[in-house]
Structures are given as C-alpha cells and as structure tokens.
Point group: C2
Chain length 318, copies 2
Amino acid sequence: MVNLSDVARKAHVSKMTVSRVINHPDQVSPELMTLVQQAIEAVGYVPNQVARALVNQRHYVIRFLLLEDVATVEPNYAKLLIRLAHNLQQKGYTLEISLDITAETQSIDGIIVSGWRQEDLLKLQTLDVPVILYGAAPPNSPLSSVDVDNQAGIEKATEYMWRQGYRDIYYIGLSLDLPFAKQREAGYRAVMAQKGGRVNVYQTENHAHLADTLLTNLMHNFELPTAIVCATDRIALGVLRAVQRVYHIPRECGVIGFDGVFIDQLTQPQLTTVRQPFALIAEKIVAQIISQIESENTLEVENTSILPDIVVRETTNL
Amino acid sequence: MVNLSDVARKAHVSKMTVSRVINHPDQVSPELMTLVQQAIEAVGYVPNQVARALVNQRHYVIRFLLLEDVATVEPNYAKLLIRLAHNLQQKGYTLEISLDITAETQSIDGIIVSGWRQEDLLKLQTLDVPVILYGAAPPNSPLSSVDVDNQAGIEKATEYMWRQGYRDIYYIGLSLDLPFAKQREAGYRAVMAQKGGRVNVYQTENHAHLADTLLTNLMHNFELPTAIVCATDRIALGVLRAVQRVYHIPRECGVIGFDGVFIDQLTQPQLTTVRQPFALIAEKIVAQIISQIESENTLEVENTSILPDIVVRETTNL
C-alpha cells in the first residue's frame, strides 16, 4: 500500500514536509504545494494516521486503562469497551487497551481510566495527556469523570417499589467502602426518609450465594407485601432464590436489581432492574475526551452522572 | 515530553534520518551517528514507538477485530481481551479494538479476528498484515486459528458423566449451523458410540428459558440416573431449573455445562462445567501473531485446538 514515504521519495522532500503540505497548506509555498500534490497523484497516496501524527502530534489513539484486577473483571466491560471502540471509530480514533498505568503516553492522545482507586489519582493527574475517569468521581475530583448516577438510580428503584404498593422496603447494599456503593445506599435512604417508611438496610459482598443466605435469615421478619431493592443484579439473583422458597414473587415480594448487563437476563422470574446506560456513558466519555484533546486551553473539571432507566420485567408487578 | 522531532530539529536532519540512526546504525556513517547521538543527549530523548515505526514499518500494535453483533456480545470477550492485552503488553505490543473489517491496516502489525463468518474470510486473507482467527477454523482454513477444542471438551464431559455412573446421557446442543456447535455434538456422539449407550440428542437456541422448556417436556422419559451434557452454561442454567423441579441434582440427575466464564458461578447448585482455557488461548494467539509478524517468510497455516479442563462442582457427583 502506498504511504507517506513513497510520496516523499517521489517529490524528493522529507516526510515532514509532505505532512505539512497535507495538514497545514497555509504554511507552505505554492510551488511546494504543487510539487507535493503532483507526487501524491503520481503515487496514488491517501493520507493516514501515521502522517497526521508527524505534524499534529495527534495519534488518533485513545487508551482504555483498566486498573482493576484482571481475574475479577465483570462482564460489564465487554459492553462498554465495544461501545467506546464504536463511538471513537466514528470520530476517526482507535481504542487501545492497557493494564499498565506507567505505560508511555507518547503514542496516544488521551486516556479513559476504569477501576482506579484514590491512590492512582495523583499519577493520573500528572500524565501529559487528557484523562477521563470512568466511575464515581471522588469529592473535589482533579479529573473529569463519567458514571451512571448511582444515587438517582436507587432512588428511582425505591420510588418505583413504593408506587407499586410495596410498603416494607429493604435495601441490600454492598459492604464496600467505595463511593458508588455509598451513593446507592444514600438513594434508598433519601426516598424512605421522604416517604416516612421503615428503613431496613443490610449489606453483603457482591455474591449471589451470600445474598441468598442473608435473605434466608431475614425473610421471617417480612411484613407483606415486601420489596427488596438490591445494589446489584448479582445480589438480586441470590435474593430471588431465597425469597422464592417461601413467598410468591411478585405478589408477596418484589425484587429489583441494578446493572442490566447480563445477569438480569438469566434469572427466573425475569428480573426488573436499573439498567446501566452504557450507550450514553460511552457517548459522554468520548465527547469529553475528544473535546479535551482538541481544546487549546485547559478545560474545567466536569463530573457527569447519567440517569439510568428501570427495565420492568416480572419481579415487581404487585 | 521530548520526541523525535526535537532530535531532528536539533541535529538539522529529517525524522527519517534520526530513526535510521537509532534502528539501523550499521547503515549510517560515523559522522551522522555522532551528530544524531549528540542531539539525542542534548534534548534528552528516549526512543519510542513512533520512531520505530518510521523505519521498521513496525507499529507494535495488534488489532482485535470483533465482527460479531455488538448487541449480543457475550461476557467471554472481556476475559479474552484483557488477557490478550496483558500478554501483548509483555512483548511490547499494544492491543487496539476495532469493529470495522475495512479499517486501514497501515498503522498496525497484525489482526486477531473474532466473530467472523465464512463470507469474511476472503477479505481477511487479502489484508496485507498477518491475521489470526479466534474460533473454530473452517476446513482448509486459509488463515491460522486458535480455539478451544470443542469436540474434545464435550467428549471429556460425556466420558466424565459415564465414569460417574450415569447411564442415560442426553446432549442438549445448539441449533446453529456453525463449526463449533457441530464439533461439540460430535464429541458426545463419539463417546456414546464407543460406550454403546443410547443416543439422546436435542437442540435449542442459546437461551436458558428455551432450554428450561425443552427439558420440562423431556424429563418424563428419564431413566435414572440421567446425565445431561449441555453445549453451553446458558443452556445448563435452564436445564438445572427445569430438572430441579422434579429430580434431585446430582443424585438422580447430573448436569454439566460448557464455558466457565461467568454463568457457572451463578447457578444453584454450583455447576460443573468445561472451562474455556482463555489464558492458554490468549498465550497461543499472541505467540502465533508475533511469530507471523517477525518472520521473513510466509508461515504455514496452523490450526490450534486447546484442550479444556472440567471444573467439578456440585451438579455431577452421583
């Protein structure tokens, strides 16, 4: 395939010169312009990424930096990665995947980070390319971020159960000291405070069997009809199993999860859930990273929380 | 950060020249070598990917080309992608994700393709970079491929159920006209022919609820103890649900799945399954693509099938 070298060789100039003619025609003499244009036609060249990079310092590559433990990677990532790749492709960028926070940044234009912890932020701030955080931003975030609105999502879920007629509403949250977990619990508490209903908050690790055991112990205290708002679909799976042994779902007990990635399609009855809006999240992340790359000035930090929707299925219809 | 341009500018030569000095020192004069070396020291430059690319045509980028419908992407991909990224990183390569079979190949060294169909193969063969297929290769494959050994995996599963003492063994396969689906079914048939057992083959689409319905209708014909070998964990999930309503698992009925990606961790009882060896698959894919990139000659087509292991859990212990 014909490339920049062939044009340079044909015109007897450097590749840098050819790139300048292509990308900054206002900066070159008419004679040079003609010379290079003729060479381009003669060899049949189409400008490409490598050529653009030489002059603009733009590589048209965005890195997805995954800092989470590879062994515990959730299926969520497949959906997000592929949407990011798709959206970036439409803007002429490619997406690379990296697991290494120390990797060089010379060959990329920006970074989208996932699975970061507080201790990673200093390093990320000091990189010489724009960085967008995926996930709940810390207070006074030094970097822009995009996430699902965790608190609003569980508020919606709790409100929905109240509207369906359930009055004894439980929240099974995550025993994790992370912002997203606390935000979800805060959503439940906010709605229950507003409704004046009894607050029943329990926590578990993110495993179906642990949630199953927890509910098996709690179930004898239910005042029907009872609703269970779950921090994740994994928890909801365990909750459904336990509760179904004793109660009718959804008539005596309603269950709602959070994620909508995959697990919700596997449960029986089919799980009502708060669906992570990956399409919108990916759109916003891409818009953010590109506007940071293309801006001449330093942009203000922007933290976006995207409101998710409830996907109503069979576990919540009183 | 200091880059190739800064060195070129300092030495008053082109970037191509600087790259040649760095990558092919045997091809340059001592005077030019000294000139560029001094410039490198003066500006504090460290060679990088872009520089290597100019001279070697090596970009140190491998593309993962996903041709499957984005909307139906399985969680399998998250695990494979991340292992590929990890293994490639250790060899100095980055992994980019693309969904577009027509994307230019000038900025990459090789392609790993997934979700391809027979009609994609001609296009893939004619690309000007090495291509490795992920998934069951067609007969007379024009390109090298790496996959789990589908037939041997189900043979192992069927053999295992026989050894456990189950004698009426069913196979619930996929109603898909694709090589991997046919290979899995062939594995069951081969073992049953060898054992002289009754052949019970049924097919369904890859959905838990369809498998549930299918088994609900089949269950009354069971001669206990019965085993059910499933083409996927999704199918096994539906099978477990149906069978548990009537029989004891595993004492009256045993169930084994195939995948071991995610679903197997969510079932109750915990599912015995044939686990896709993603770590080994990723290792082999990376070894293959790099050896094709680094070879001066055209290598022979090599189709690798990796034998999976059975992860024994609670659904198969008579």
